[in-house]
């Protein structure tokens, strides 16, 4: 028993060291004042100061945030509908194909999604004169990729719901959209939030789809970072990474605190309702 616990502890610890080591190194070396990026010399904030005047990166960041915001929103809207269809409607025409198309982008390599979407859009553009490549086409690709993740997150939440609550509302005379708006939506709101955050970060992290679907004027931040990173170690990349890690950690911690608080509140309300 002692032995098992020892093995279990060390396996988990080693695993987490493996997962977090690169992140720690990224952050630490962003403060490194040295001409050789990998040799530690002394602490500096120089890389952050330079970042403030790095127009290439800042412009790309602005575009990336914009695309991420709109693609996450679209992905959650589409994902909610797809998850709802799969959970509530057990039979409709082509359901198997539909569920296949919903799940496939989770594993489909980005290069395939990117090239096929691009070549289709080029064909459409030749025939109709639009859409031009740029922010819109990148948004389209990110919404498509994000939708699969959003669907999985929302679907698992919908499956956990007690269908009796919706049936009760229906019996009390609520119309279907009222049931959705007043009963279902509040119960799945947390999963909508986490789906939105997840698709937002996926969009903010994508290199391959953006590379296929961008135009010379519309470069996203990961594409800029990627083109620098592939040339070698670059402390400005570390500085960007540190800021992202910081923002994401704060965001995730805030979001999970909010979720925990809501969960507690719901449990309290439920207990209250049960007492009455």
């Amino acid at each position: 028993m002692m032995m098992t616990r020892l093995v279990s502890r060390s396996w988990l610890t080693a695993g987490f060291v493996f997962l977090y080591l690169p992140i720690v190194a990224l952050v630490l070396y962003s403060f490194n004042d040295s001409p050789i990026p990998n040799v530690w010399r002394s602490v500096t904030f120089n890389w952050y100061v330079r970042l403030a005047s790095d127009d290439d990166l800042l412009g790309a960041l602005r575009l990336s945030l914009k695309i991420a915001f709109f693609s996450a929103t679209a992905a959650v809207l589409l994902g909610t509908m797809a998850a709802f269809s799969l959970v509530k409607y057990k039979r409709f025409f082509g359901r198997t194909m539909f569920s296949g198309m919903v799940n496939a982008p989770l594993v489909m390599p980005d290069v395939i999604v990117g090239i096929s979407l691009l070549l289709m859009l080029v064909a459409v553009e030749r025939a109709l004169g639009f859409p031009d490549r740029g922010a819109f086409t990148i948004w389209l690709a990110h919404a498509l990729a994000g939708m699969a993740y959003a669907t999985v997150v929302i679907q698992s939440r919908l499956l956990d719901l007690n269908p009796q609550l919706e049936e009760a509302a229906m019996d009390l005379g609520a119309r279907p959209w009222e049931v959705f708006y007043l009963v279902t939506l509040p119960m799945i709101s947390q999963s909508l939030l986490s789906a939105w955050l997840l698709t937002f970060t996926i969009s903010l992290d994508d290199v391959v789809l953006s590379s296929f679907l961008n135009a010379p004027g519309s470069t996203t931040m990961p594409v800029v970072i990627f083109s620098r990173a592939r040339l070698g170690l670059n402390p400005s990349v570390n500085a960007v990474a540190t800021i992202i890690v910081l923002v994401v950690s704060i965001g995730v911690i805030l979001a999970s605190l909010m979720i925990v608080r809501n969960e507690r509140k719901r449990a309290r309300d439920m207990a209250e309702a049960a007492r009455n």
Binding site: S8, L19, A104, V113, L204, V207, F226, L233
Partner: protein, 306 residues
């Protein structure tokens, strides 16, 4: 009556909108690249499959791109090498991830949400930047580099043919594999954990009562019961690995053969859209069976959890 009608319209819209979206932006593009892969470059553009000749529609299918891919040794080797990297990554992820998920699922209940959170947190920080970080760790003077060289493990790796020479870890099969395992490990752990944490522990007690020692119980009860998790995790690792582009580009060597990279060069450097499309179509054919398996288990997992 009105209510029935409006709910039917609602149902139609809820299913129809995402359905149409996926058909137009996911399914149709495949048909387009299939079409392009069957055409040939004519000058700067590629030819049409359908042409009108003397009032008769003619369908011209050119299999020359497929012939080209079959005949050129490079493509065959690249597909094979991509499949090998994907398989190796999957096996290593399973070897690390299964015990990890198992110990997570058997940890004290109150710690489990924290452990789960810790596995998911790297997901939220940029994948690109975490892969880039390995460049630093494995280059000369990097932390992991120093440890490996200090332990003289680089000689072992060199003897195994994973790196060209001791002391040279970056841009090798080794650095590529480390990056792939690192990136995809959480995709293996999460479905396995979801599966293992739901297991009925009384089954293990029953096995013990019937005289099985813990090791036997593990192999005859736990592992078979977690089959769905193993398959889901393996597919989540194996399929995207085949087409991986960013990791080989950042961590692989110049001679590392990965099909995603070859397709990328065919498209962006050679501007040969038909050949790039053909490479993509063949890639889809390679992964279509694993995807079907994945979809089946994914659907069963969702439907069965009720």
């Amino acid at each position: 009556m009105i209510r029935g009608k409006s709910s039917r319209v609602g149902r139609f819209a809820v299913i129809g909108v995402p359905y149409l979206w996926l058909i137009v932006f996911f399914l149709l593009p495949f048909l387009v690249i299939l079409k392009i892969s069957l055409s040939e470059m004519e000058g700067v553009a590629f030819g049409n499959l359908l042409t009108w000749k003397e009032g008769v529609m003619q369908l011209t299918l050119k299999f020359s791109n497929y012939l080209y891919i079959v005949q050129d040794d490079l493509y065959f080797k690249t597909y094979l090498s991509s499949l090998r990297y994907a398989a190796v990554t999957t096996v290593i992820c399973l070897a690390i991830g299964y015990p990890f998920a198992y110990f997570m699922a058997r940890a004290e209940k109150r710690f489990q949400p924290v452990l789960l959170m810790l596995v998911m947190l790297p997901f939220w920080t940029s994948f690109l930047l975490r892969v880039y970080a390995w460049k630093g760790l494995l280059s000369e003077h990097g932390w992991v580099y120093e440890i490996i060289v200090f332990l003289r493990l680089d000689h072992v790796l060199a003897a195994g043919g994973l790196i060209a020479a001791p002391g040279q870890l970056m841009n090798t099969s080794f650095s590529l594999s480390v990056g792939m395992v690192y990136t995809y490990l959480p995709f293996m752990i999460l479905p396995l954990y979801a599966n293992l944490s739901k297991m009925d522990l009384r089954l293990l007690e029953a096995a013990a009562d019937l005289g099985a020692n813990p090791w036997v119980a593990f192999w005859t009860v736990t592992v078979p019961l977690s089959k769905a998790g193993i398959i889901a995790g393996s597919m989540l690792v194996f399929i995207p690995c085949i087409g991986e582009y960013v990791i080989p580009e950042l961590l692989g060597g110049p001679e590392t053969l990965m099909i995603g990279r070859v397709m990328w060069d065919e498209f962006f450097s050679n501007n040969d859209w038909p050949v790039a499309s053909t490479v993509a179509v063949v890639m889809v054919l390679l992964i279509i069976v694993p995807i079907a398996i994945f979809n089946k288990y994914e659907a069963e997992a969702q439907e069965g959890s009720r």
